[in-house]
Assembly symmetry: C2
DNA sequence: GTCTATATCTAGATAGAC
DNA sequence: GTCTATCTAGATATAGAC
């Protein structure tokens, strides 16, 4: 008798595969191999490959938003933290699992499609809430555009390994919360 | 004896499939069905599925750049035309075949990877050349960022069917070439 | 919960007739 | 250049023993 593989481990590996190979390109066989299971054993934990999508995105959303500073207390801090987390993830992996899935899931997998939509709407809403606290107008459109710019910049990481467009997108995003700090400069901005 | 299916028709249908389903999701069987051939017959026209990628992107690049106004004569006109073409294509199809392939091809298909890299570098260079003619600095980074913003905006078309982020990205891009014309306003800008 | 074994389907690609 | 027929490999998913 072996001890069960933690669900979280499976989801984390599934995310890696979806991010790298997309929905179609990721296989249950590869996933099983990565977590040390036989492919068939995955189906006792998840009903289908499609079901993994919502698990992956729920985990990603949770990691992105957990312990975020309260926007009503210090919206600039919340904004910087959220943008920093998104950018760090994109830079670490060179691509966004959400974007890969957004392009990769079709109407053949409606639950997965819905999960992707919920994911990005949730991220946008979190950003919108912060910008609204900062009286940045219009908050929803600015949030959508900011996220689109960060995601779009991954094009250059994926094709050229060039992360400078992402750095500039981050800079523009942070600029919304006031002047960007230079190196070594420790600005104390009003909350 | 039937008459041969034009190569161009096959490439155009392949593009449709790659754009919608990505590299992995697109199948030679579907492609054959769309052009009225048996799957096996495709291999007398193209050596492999991978080889279709460069054909698709070469055609797309050609359509994007053919007959573009000379940047040295009127760079604003060239810029508006190119941005307009890119935006129109993205809006018509709701997604970019190049971005889907950028995310979708792996090191398992190195020729396809190279084709994607060449495609985006070529688009960037065309944009860079125009911006340089307009003395917009820095031209290369501005071109990369502009393209990234347009591509990133397709996220919202793909997930929500919302093309307003793309419209705003276009507006920002056109703003680089001077004030944006209002509806009905027929500005004559200096070349 | 994991395993072996298997079912079912579809993928990309090849051989040879016409 | 297109066809019929076939190969080989891989995919998702299920059944039943331990």
């Amino acid at each position: 008798m072996r001890e069960p593989v933690p669900l979280r481990d499976i989801v984390i590996e599934a995310r890696e595969l979806f991010r790298e190979y997309g929905y179609e390109g990721a296989s249950m066989r590869d996933l099983a191999g990565r977590v040390g299971l036989r492919p068939q054993s995955l189906y006792t934990r998840f009903p289908s490959k499609e079901a993994l999508v919502s698990e992956v995105l729920a985990l990603t959303l949770e990691e992105m938003l957990e312990g975020l500073p309260d926007p009503d207390r210090n919206w600039r801090n919340a904004w910087r933290t959220l943008i920093g987390r998104i950018a760090q993830t994109l830079e670490n992996h060179g691509r966004c699992v959400g974007l890969h899935l957004a392009y990769g899931v079709t109407s053949a997998t409606p639950e997965a499609q819905k999960a992707v939509r919920v994911f990005f709407k949730s991220v946008q809403e979190a950003m919108t809430r912060i910008l609204r606290s900062g009286k940045i107008a219009p908050p929803a459109a600015t949030a959508a555009d900011t996220l689109a710019q960060l995601e779009g910049a991954t094009l250059w990481i994926a094709t050229e390994g060039d992360n400078r467009p992402l750095k500039r997108a981050v800079r523009r995003a942070l600029h919304l919360a006031g002047p960007v700090r230079r190196c070594g400069e420790k600005a104390e901005l009003p909350s």
